[in-house]
Symmetry: C2
Subunit: 388 residues, 2 copies
């Protein structure tokens, strides 16, 4: 697809049945380079062979089509490519491969937008619970939600349960395992989940609460079924899972599987950050892809915490998780990563009630854990009252 003599970009003939539209930011100086690179991507991600191989008609059917190339706010170019459903299929691994497979090994090609076709969206689970389902689970129909992490690794199951019970008595909506809690001898999975589930259930019974406990099931793929089974046996409603560590398809398997468990997706090893010239943009990975794969809640790095993500990136992730995407449910953004509990009200106001603020360290350093968590919950309740 060379530029025409007039210097304008000739747009390829439309794809008859597309599987996905992907938008890339290309770090190129000139339009001509951007056109060449976009053409190379459209080929690399599909037929991955020189012109003629397999026949011209076959290639015309399988190649990605460049739909648009335009300047990207002074930094290179934005190219939108539509890929045929014949190439992408509706399998998540192949959708990901076509969107950002081999080009992930190139420099200056960043995936900044992803629009799966209706046929793909119908084949993938999306959130099983979604925002409404999570609200039902924790009996909080309208206010902002709060989650607290129990940690650190190395603490005994009893020590973690002590934290969890305090959070539950305070009315925290979701108590979650730290994503690093794996099979450490200090708190092995089976023991830890049982002891903490009992502690949370006891606290709920004592105060008439609805706190949910989500164990971390990130671990070997061949133990996932067993761990999920145990979570269900304990009567728990959800799990924490790191798609970056287990593969995005592991998230899909849980979301599409037979057990009605909510999934909180955690971004460890997600390898995404704003402002890079390559990789998958945070809103596309944590917003679009995690939601499509089935996350009900998506943990990401909040502005002003330990990581230096700007607030606009957070808003972009929120938007992807909550925007209409028929037939998928909306997912709940969970800003985290060093959020100060004292600033909860500020973030609730910024992000709106359909947000779950996830806090760990700034609660755990406080002497009165239950009191600190209660103030956090009260901030969420005040926010709802303020909105009435």
């Amino acid at each position: 697809m060379p530029a025409t003599r007039s210097g304008r970009v000739r747009i390829d003939a439309p794809v008859r049945a597309f599987g996905l539209r992907a938008s890339y930011r290309l770090s190129c100086g000139h339009l001509g380079e951007a056109v060449s690179l976009a053409s190379a991507i459209a080929r690399e991600q599909t037929v991955e062979a020189p012109p003629g191989v397999g026949g011209d008609r076959l290639q015309a059917r399988m190649l990605g089509r460049i739909e648009r190339i335009e300047p990207s706010h002074g930094e290179g170019w934005l190219a939108r490519i539509a890929y045929p459903l014949d190439a992408t299929t509706t399998e998540l691994t192949q959708v990901l491969n076509v969107a950002y497979g081999n080009v992930s090994l190139m420099d200056g090609v960043r995936l900044v937008g992803l629009e799966p076709a209706p046929a793909v969206l119908r084949s993938l689970p999306g959130p099983r619970f979604g925002i409404t389902g999570i609200r039902s689970l924790v009996n909080a129909p309208a206010r902002p939600l709060v989650s607290a992490a129990i940690k650190p690794i190395g603490l005994s199951s009893g020590g973690l349960a002590h934290q969890a019970a305090a959070f539950a008595r305070a009315g925290v909506d979701v108590v979650k395992d730290d994503h690093g809690l794996a099979v450490q001898g200090s708190a092995p999975f089976a023991e830890r989940t049982r002891v903490i589930a009992e502690a949370v259930a006891g606290a709920n019974a004592a105060v008439g609460g609805h706190t949910a406990y989500f164990p971390n099931v990130t671990g070997p793929l061949d133990t996932l079924e067993e761990r999920l089974e145990r979570v269900v046996a304990l009567g728990l409603g959800g799990v924490v899972l790191c798609p970056g560590l287990m593969g995005l398809d592991a998230l899909r398997c849980v979301a599409a599987g037979p057990r009605a468990l909510a999934v909180m997706a955690h971004p460890a090893h997600a390898q995404t950050a704003p402002g890079r010239a390559q990789g998958v943009a945070p809103d596309v990975l944590l917003g679009t892809l995690y939601r499509v794969a089935g996350a009900d809640i998506v943990v990401y790095v909040n502005a002003g915490g330990r990581f230096s993500w700007p607030e606009e990136t957070c808003h972009a992730v929120n938007r992807r998780l909550r925007e209409p995407m028929v037939p998928l449910r909306r997912a709940l953004p969970a800003p985290a990563g060093g959020v100060n509990a004292a600033e909860a009200g500020h973030w609730f106001a910024r992000y709106g009630p359909d947000t779950m603020l996830l806090i760990g360290g700034s609660l755990l350093v406080q002497r009165d854990l239950e009191g600190a968590a209660r103030r956090l919950v009260e901030a969420a309740v005040r926010q709802e009252e303020g909105n009435r």
Copy 2:
């Protein structure tokens, strides 16, 4: 771990039992910043909580220890951190999480070295076949090896089998599915693998050859077992799998599983490239991690092809795959990505005989596919004769 008054870095007390040593390149100007960042990493990747949480003794046991900080050839600093086995455990997902979990969301932190402890190496499979095993499989005890890709997507099973048979008659060692061959209706998995396996077996019988056919099993995790079963039922010796798309642990599952299949790991969506300020360096990901997880053959981007990786990166990957790593077997580097068949001899000479050159497009564009492949095999044989 602040710098001492003299400006030198005080080294933390050694870890008693370490799980892994990770080296990071930090994009910092001053030593003081590098020390602060390294300390932040050592905390983020382990206890992920402020000092005091869980108790000082617990934190002292779980925190990563900075072993060394030194200038990195004028570009920032190199920091080596040892993480306790108590934190890493021997599970691959948690090893990856501690090595490059949350810090993958930061800027200016690149994983450039990884040394798993003997306890971790003993728990992970490493290559089941290794270089020696692959050589036995294809009956080529000493010469450089050659692999050819069949493609493009959209071609029928019969069309792909036609290519595979030509490659087998020419004596190509491994015929592999293109990594994009998934469940496209043009060549669905069950049909495709059966038809191609028969074609390769027929060609082998006709010429007395030993060509192996490796189908691509990249796809939904919950279909992996079924696909592997089918590969075994067809009498095939190995598979192609993309750890970037399925998760690194999917590779481990195949390598550690009950079926004696060799694994060729393909880097689609691996999101690695030389010269970046973040991410996992190619030699660490494709060399160390893919090998530890169980790849027998690792496909990567060769210099001079469609991607712009320098030759030194290729040598670095080769080195990681072949260096001693007790008790793991050595794995076979498979440079690919636009290698010109006419330059095969050059690359064999550069990389040595323990290399599998993977070629697709530059064979497939040639009218006489079998003749082109035969010339490639002859180049490998000549290389061996030259080495005698």
